[in-house]
Symmetry: C2
Subunit: 290 residues, 2 copies
Amino acid sequence: MLDPVSRVRRFNRAVTSAVGALDTSFLGRGRPLGAARVLNAIGHGRSDVAEIRDYLGLDSGLMSRLLRSLEDEGLVETNAHEDDARRRVATLTRAGRREFAAYEALSNTQAEGFLAQHSQREAVLAAMDLIASTLTHERVTLDEMDPRSEEARHCLGEYYGELGRRFKQGFDVSLSRDPDAKDMRRPRGTFIVAMSDTLPIGCVGLKGTDHGYAEIKRLWVAPAARGLRLGRRLMDVTEDAARGLGIKLLRLDTNSALAEAGQLYRRSGWSEIPRFNDDPYPDLFFEKRL
Amino acid sequence: MLDPVSRVRRFNRAVTSAVGALDTSFLGRGRPLGAARVLNAIGHGRSDVAEIRDYLGLDSGLMSRLLRSLEDEGLVETNAHEDDARRRVATLTRAGRREFAAYEALSNTQAEGFLAQHSQREAVLAAMDLIASTLTHERVTLDEMDPRSEEARHCLGEYYGELGRRFKQGFDVSLSRDPDAKDMRRPRGTFIVAMSDTLPIGCVGLKGTDHGYAEIKRLWVAPAARGLRLGRRLMDVTEDAARGLGIKLLRLDTNSALAEAGQLYRRSGWSEIPRFNDDPYPDLFFEKRL
DNA sequence: CATGATGTCTGACTGTAGTCAGATATATTG
DNA sequence: CAATATATCTGACTACAGTCAGACATCATG
């Protein structure tokens, strides 16, 4: 019972029966699961019918019927898409928004109830994050984003916080050479955020310079997503982007306190070079020719 | 997106879609989910039809039909229960055992595949244990068991290992006054194991003495099950058992390195007393009058 | 041994999810 | 503008899960 496979299977059993209960509770508002899922997808901002169908994996016939039943209930309205009259766009009516809010409240209460069972909330949450990340890691997308976007700023905040915890002397952004946002935008560079569902779980910046090379900056992976080789994926995508921008040489600096990072660089074709800047924090310097 | 409730809901979404895939894969052997569940319940040693029905939460009519379909496939045989001919007992035929083994192999492969995604297996497993324990903690049963049973010995082994890690000087059972198993059996005492599914996740011993009191020994809760107030439940059940045995006074010893334990005792009506034995490890002593 | 309780089974039924073929309206392309 | 592609809808169908009432055999009890 204590070998790894049994532990995974115990988890599966526990979760399967809990999810079963969760599904039934969706029926708690007198509506079949399929219709409830469509209503919630619309409530969460998916309006294009084809998109919902794709997201929920439904047959077009079934989707059509589910929409019709929600319309009959007065919860949803559909209209032709303004650019293409074949496509339909679904929106919630006032009653639909009310009903959606009721589902949201129900889900929130359920989540709170679950957390209340346990006196060590943070440990439970961290465990949930870890498993959710593992389950969804094939669906993580690496999206180019503006370094000033909310998602990017979230990642950077977490990154700085972690440096503060891991460097003996702490970390003060203002002392470091904080890259200018415009150096991490095309065409000089780029900024990439790893998104799991709607949660930003990692980032990396490619910063253009005028010295004949570009720099990799701010590589960060959320603790819950570590071990999934996301750092490697972020680096690969950034290198591809750099090649696309015609960049021939990459450099980066890091600190030996960040052991995983150093390992990653060495394993993926970077070579250590002498210090090439006067930033007070880094003590390790790498470059890679593309 | 980062408040606790959102994190729980993200976990729910991730797990719901994974479980959906898992359910469908049960159909991968050309058999409806219901029949597959019954087959697997029988394979896992549940033979009494009423027990299976109860475990899977099925209607008696449905259960009957599912059994019939498995019989038609030649996978299951049912016979009258030898003590009560109204009850039926289901057993797997040779073909049934083969089919069950195929499901097992499938589940194991799936579990291994999941673990393989992540380079930090132990962290993922610990997270799964924690969540499984939280989800199933209402279903944890506290069973009286022999202190020499496999379950009890597992718990004691974990307990000693943990003392070794938490005591500065380590822990050597032979130096401690290891209770005689017969002092933790009725009528002198008892031994209680907390079982989650088939996994032992906690224990406590009630050790009878000839000094006018009984002792609480070996209170342990698995790391993954901490925070669920299981220690409290174990203590409550043991006190009830002690009352049932006519015991009027309980004592216990512990070590200040085990802070949670000390807190638990103080909060549940125990009072500190002077040392009452010469065991080298404990430095805190309590008693409670029933 | 009659009576009621229990465990299982059968038949008749419902609701939901899902599939498939074809109809309809709109877009795109040569 | 004709031919084709695309997005949705409708009707007809199947499979599965689940419910309910009642039949039947067996057991426990006074």
